[in-house]
């Protein structure tokens, strides 16, 4: 006689040895590794994107006629890349064999170090990027004369009393320095904001996971 599905179900589980609950001790191990792997992957992609952008921008600026901007940008971004490449090596050395909590804690320490170093780097990077743009356009060829010199000539025609320092209007220098100061002041914050936009979700997951493990340990 054909067995009903109810009987197949009951008899099957009576005979079966597959109803053993899995261990939940390692509940967090995979999660920790997964989150950190995800971050590492994103970080590596980001670094490669910086290098690619530096090269592309260098070529573009050459054709646009502001190669100085491209060159300064390139050097600044390569320095940023070098710092972060070194940090990435440190991240890859974190021992996955540690307990989940220890692993997450060492990752958290790495993040703190990463933030501290990059805050300093970005404090210099943003003003340098701004200066690179100004210098690039200043020396851009404008019908045989650098654009900056042509601009100064026009200013002097309109305002003959303009005070010059090494051929550059003092007011212009003051404005550029002020903006650079602002960028240096907010550089760290801009970096933090940038970091949260890219990795915010990963950081939130990490925080939740650490709270869970701490509660579990309690």
């Amino acid at each position: 006689m054909e067995k009903s599905i109810e009987n197949i179900w009951k008899d099957g589980f009576l005979k079966s040895d597959k109803l053993i609950a899995p261990q939940i001790d390692n509940l967090y191990s995979q999660k920790s590794i997964h989150i950190i792997d995800k971050f590492t992957r994103m970080f590596r992609i980001n670094l490669n994107a910086i290098v690619a952008f530096a090269f592309v921008f260098l070529v573009i600026t050459y054709f646009v006629g502001i190669p100085i901007t491209g060159a300064i940008f390139f050097i600044a971004l390569m320095i940023l890349f070098a710092f972060n490449k070194k940090l990435l090596k440190g991240l890859e050395k974190l021992d996955k064999g540690d307990s989940s909590y220890e692993y997450l804690k060492s990752f958290n320490l790495w993040i703190k170090k990463h933030k501290e170093i990059n805050k300093k780097v970005y404090t210099l990077l943003y003003p340098i990027i701004f200066l690179a743009l100004i210098v690039g356009f200043w020396f851009k060829d404008a019908k045989g004369l650098p654009l900056g010199e042509r601009l100064v000539t026009k200013i002097l025609i309109g305002f003959p009393d303009t005070y010059l320092v090494y051929g550059i209007p003092l007011i212009g220098i003051v404005i550029v320095l002020f903006i650079m100061g602002l960028l240096a002041f907010f550089g760290g914050r801009l970096f933090q904001w940038d970091l949260n936009v890219i990795y915010g979700r990963v950081f939130k997951k990490l925080e939740l996971l650490m709270t869970d493990i701490e509660n579990l340990n309690d």
Partner: protein
């Protein structure tokens, strides 16, 4: 999650959680992930339990929601589709039950829609229509009709496979 909480509040329902998780997974690895996630969610949600329903109903509801959410995530994840062929081989070996008829029934259940899987599993676990309706979030009459329709469908799928 304390081991006391696990032993007193989750382990008594481990059987149905395991059965549910198995209905939504194809490999031992996925099954363990689903089971662990269900346990974790039960623990995380324990403070939200208002005793408006039974604890068991609450547990089944969370188990079902977690399974459906993870299944949806998996469907959206192309990487998992790539590795499905490997998992199919695994289904044949260490993931299978020792009882062949049960394996066939599970395979048939996996062919049902996500909600129908939950309905029939709860029915097979001898939950009342009222409790099934409560867990699924529908009315009792609907469940009766649905169970009969699912059983018919399962019989059709199993026809030719079981004598």
């Amino acid at each position: 999650m304390s081991s006391d909480f696990y032993k007193s509040s989750i382990l008594p329902f481990a059987g149905i959680i395991i059965k549910l998780c198995r209905a939504y997974t194809n490999s031992q690895e996925d099954f363990e992930d689903y089971y662990q996630e269900v346990c974790l969610q039960i623990w995380r949600s324990k403070d939200n339990f208002r005793e408006e329903s039974q604890w068991s109903t609450w547990v089944y509801r969370i188990a079902l929601n977690v399974c459906l959410t993870l299944l949806k995530k998996k469907k959206n994840n192309v990487q998992h589709f790539v590795s499905d062929s490997v998992m199919d081989e695994e289904t044949e070996s260490n993931y299978a039950f020792s009882d062949e008829s049960l394996n066939l029934l599970y395979a048939a259940i996996r062919r049902l829609s996500e909600i129908d899987r939950a309905v029939i599993m709860l029915y097979l676990e001898e939950k009342s229509y009222m409790e099934i309706a409560d867990i699924i979030g529908t009315n009792q009459n609907n469940i009766g009709v649905r169970v009969n329709r699912i059983k018919e469908r399962l019989k059709k799928i199993l026809d030719g496979k079981i004598n």
